[in-house]
């Protein structure tokens, strides 16, 4: 058990103490289930079997899908997991998000949080993975993120359905006086075919819910799945084509007031002067109040309608203190470059890199620098929340990725106990990691203290949203490789410096927890890739720049996918090796990776000659447990470079809904291409310079390429799908532009160097 001791001594950014505690003393608590949060809130004639299933006497079947729907289709897939085992069709059920409850913790979100590569199944990695799962429950995150929802739900949601089904059968057997073994289920009913008898689930639900859950349950074999593995109609589609009021911004309550915020444009800075006189005089303005949270300082405007609030926010005359970080992008870049020269955490160290480079002839060395900018999430729905504080009870309505965090931090902010807070999670008009934050909810909760019990809907302007994000960190890296006589790399040394998003997140959410240990997200996507190179070192350095940074679709992999795969393309060019062949050779130890590379190359007819003025580039990233290869084809046109086509091959282990997975892969690739083409957040005078879609745009329909997607299931573990299409998109595009123009672009966005049609 030496490896256990080794792990316990290591420190991780999240919950180092809890890991040791979880493994050593916390096992009992881990095993002890949380109470069923549905029990307190049942309708008349409604019965609940576990936190995921409610059945009414009228056979209304409600499934709780406790992960936030931000477009990724998770409510449909989670419901299908329960429905599959419950033997009901998706058209027979209602799906709810459910309350904020620790019962809905997401273990998988943290399982991949340890400093081990996904494919490293050594005992050490397995133990940490189990330990991180335990931490997930202790932190009791009901989070949606890390592309972890299907993995987290796969067993427990199916078990919830199977358990309820067996309890229903047992109750029917009792009622009919027939042995349970002779009964079967279909479409929400229990049948005895020979006797021609049937009972709906609703008819026996009340009795069934009182029965002891079965000691053993057997889940269906994959071959017997009726719903899973097959494309389902999304349960949210009808509401989304009819403009139904399903988003946080659509919440409408009796007596509701409206509001907005004007927060310091310099992060963490307080106002040094504020004149409300013009703003307060404006028609429809009720009150202007200070807002102070761990996210920053500013003002809330309470008004009779949103427009009045927006106008008043503009009319506040405020001056803000100086920032604690460099005033402009050049200064911040300098901090990152300085950090690059310091010692970081070595995340991967195969062979002996120093020795391998010591005697390398100059012509065998490839040496380059890479950089990417800060990025905003820019969800289509600007940040907003509605709050009501009445009789000591706080209700919050908002789209969010972490309802238990919203509950806890809003309770603290208004000074009440958590059990006096109800979080009503709506659909989200985009998340991408932005709504893991809770700033929008905190602002609404604090403003609700000022409205004498009336609810208030607080909507941020796009400008506030763009300028008060938890940004994707900027990052810089230096890379060198030594090539062998065959052109293949024998040594690579990668050093990456970036502000720590874990430290930044802790400052906002849990400032009392010190950020200990390495932040592996700095090197995610570089240190954990399935390449075998004899001498392979990847180091990550936390740079001391305190612009708020957070989780942006695919997190560190959105940075290092570009660095690593751009650099691999440079190695291939320098060694005169085909980029596809280079990867197949270096990934030979990981058959799933090789098959992905072969598949995407075959789809794109890699190697076949293209007409003049067209070229292809490829990239591969393993992230969130899925192996993804992308090839981008670009064309030179009179109006600039046009992205013509993108081929994607992804091994997700088990594909639960092929249509939703394909949609997510395309979505994530477009998200990555949008950023690579033109997005950057820059700073001047301590403030974000961009403000809206005119200066922070994304791909438009006329720029959108054709897509061809292949979903593979070769690997024995299920991977995520919501983020994994993003990391290879930028490098595949940059590599294609190199193939087209001979110009190697190592700094994003690409629009600094080329024009896109």
């Amino acid at each position: 058990m030496a490896s256990v001791g080794k792990i316990a001594r290591r420190t991780f950014l999240i919950g180092a103490a809890a890991i040791a505690g979880g493994v050593a003393v916390g096992y009992y608590y881990y095993r002890k289930p949380y109470p069923n949060p549905l029990e307190g809130d049942l309708a008349a004639d409604e019965a609940t079997f576990n936190p995921y299933v409610k059945i009414g006497a009228d056979n209304t079947i409600t499934i709780v899908a406790p992960r936030a729907e931000m477009g990724q289709g998770i409510s449909t897939t989670l419901a299908a997991m329960v429905a599959e085992e419950l033997d009901v069709g998706l058209d027979q059920i209602k799906v709810e998000h459910g309350p904020a409850s620790y019962a809905y913790f997401n273990a998988a979100i943290l399982e991949e949080g340890g400093p081990f590569a996904f494919f490293d199944e050594s005992m050490t990695a397995e133990i940490v993975r189990a330990g991180m799962g335990v931490v997930g429950k202790f932190l009791a995150l009901q989070g949606t993120g890390g592309s972890a929802s299907t993995l987290d739900g796969f067993d427990k949601m199916r078990q919830a359905g199977a358990t309820a089904r067996q309890m229903l059968i047992a109750a029917a057997a009792q009622k009919l006086g027939i042995a349970a073994a002779d009964l079967e289920t279909a479409n929400g009913s229990i049948l005895h075919k020979a006797l021609g008898k049937s009972l709906t689930y609703g008819a026996v639900a009340a009795t069934a819910a009182t029965m002891a859950p079965p000691a053993e349950i057997r889940l269906k074999d994959k071959a017997d799945w009726k719903l899973l593995g097959k494309p389902q109609k999304r349960i949210d589609m009808l509401a989304k084509v009819t403009g139904a009021p399903i988003f946080g911004i659509d919440v409408t309550l009796p007596e509701m007031l409206y509001g907005t915020v004007k927060m310091s444009p310099r992060f963490w800075a307080k106002p040094v002067k504020a004149d409300f006189s013009n703003a307060e005089k404006m028609p429809g303005v009720i009150k202007i109040v200070p807002i102070d949270t761990n996210y920053g300082h500013g003002f809330g405007i309470i008004a009779e309608n949103t427009w009045a609030a927006f106008k008043a926010a503009e009319a506040i005359d405020a001056e803000w203190a100086d920032p604690e970080y460099p005033l402009d992008s050049a200064g911040i870049s300098e901090v990152l470059k300085q950090a690059l020269g310091t010692k970081g955490s070595v995340m991967r160290d195969d062979g002996d890199v120093d020795t391998a480079f010591a005697d390398a002839p100059r012509e065998r060395i490839v040496k380059t620098d890479y950089a990417v900018p800060y990025l905003a999430h820019a969800t289509m729905e600007p940040m907003n929340a509605t709050a009501r504080l009445k009789d000591g009870v706080l209700d919050i309505w908002c789209g969010n990725q972490a309802p238990t965090l919203v509950r806890q931090l809003c309770a603290n902010a208004v000074g009440i106990e958590q059990d006096k807070v109800s979080v009503h999670t709506t659909f989200m008009g985009g998340g991408f990691g932005r709504r893991i934050e809770v700033d929008y909810a905190l602002c609404a909760a604090l403003m609700a203290k000022e409205t004498a019990g009336r609810p208030i809907k607080v909507i941020w302007t796009r400008e506030e949203d763009m300028r008060h994000d938890a940004y994707r960190p900027a990052s810089v890296g230096k890379f060198q490789a030594r090539l062998g006589n065959d052109g293949m790399p024998v040594a690579v040394d990668m050093t990456i410096a970036s502000p720590s998003l874990i430290a930044s997140t802790l400052r906002r959410l849990f400032p009392s927890i010190p950020p200990l240990g390495p932040d592996k997200s700095i090197a995610d996507g570089a240190y954990d890739q399935p390449y075998t190179i004899p001498n392979y070192r990847v180091s990550g350095i936390a740079a001391p720049a305190s612009i708020p940074v957070g989780f942006w679709r695919s997190v560190g992999c959105s940075i290092n996918g570009f660095f690593h795969e751009g650099f691999m393309d440079e190695i291939a060019t320098a060694g005169k090796v085909d980029p596809v062949e280079l990867r197949k050779t270096l990934m030979a130890a990981y058959p799933a990776a090789v098959k992905v590379v072969e598949k995407v190359a075959a789809m794109a007819k890699w190697g076949e000659a293209l007409p003049a003025g067209k070229a292809k580039g490829m990239a591969f990233t393993l992230s969130f447990g899925s192996w993804v290869g992308e090839i981008v084809q670009v064309a030179d046109t009179p109006s600039g470079i046009r992205i013509e086509k993108v081929w994607i091959a992804a091994d997700v282990g088990t594909a639960l809904d092929p249509d939703i997975i394909e949609a997510q892969l395309i979505s994530a690739a477009i998200y990555g291409l949008s950023a690579a083409m033109g997005q950057e957040i820059t700073f001047a005078d301590g403030m974000v310079e961009q403000s809206n879609f005119h200066d922070y745009d994304a791909m438009r329909i006329f720029q959108c390429p054709a897509f061809e997607v292949a979903i593979l299931e070769n690997f024995h573990k299920m991977g995520g799908v919501g983020e994994v299409g993003t990391p290879p998109a930028a490098p595949a595009l940059a590599n294609a532009i190199f193939a087209l123009t001979g110009k190697r672009i190592r700094t994003l966005p690409l629009s600094k160097e080329v024009t896109f049609a």
Binding site: M237, G243, M380, G429, A663, S667, A668, I701, F702
Partner: protein, 171 residues
Amino acid sequence: MADRPFCLGLWTTTKGIPMRLTVDGQAFDVNADPEMPLLWALRDLMGKTGPKFGCGIAACGACTVHVDGQPVRSCSLPVGEVTGAVTTIEGIGTEARLHPVQQAWLEEQVAQCGYCQAGQIMSAVALLDEVADPTDADIDDAMGGNLCRCGTYPKIRAAIKRAVVLKTAGI
């Protein structure tokens, strides 16, 4: 069309001028600052939350509605300048009786987060009212002002083409 206007807006005391608008075939009397964008009058004063707020500067198209059949960005059109009948996503079809464009969106499973789709659909409806069988270039022109951060563009294009077929078939 309703003869008797009614008022959903709770806050009609704001200094503003009384005005009557026809929205989705129904008359609304509101008191509003004439400079208030149509979007906020619809959402906050008339209870029409179908059109969405995305940018406030006519750069994303999430707020697209029709005024006398023409697509406009309601976030940037002062309510005082609205002279025609307004149609929102809530006025083109219902869950029970979808507009052919909505039906096509449903069949192609277009939406992901769905936030931009009310605007996308309203732009597509206006396009198909003007051009019965649009080319890809027509689609690019008509839909270029509608941003989608989920990247549903390939399905939007497919759904517009499906809507052409549905409309031709009289659905």
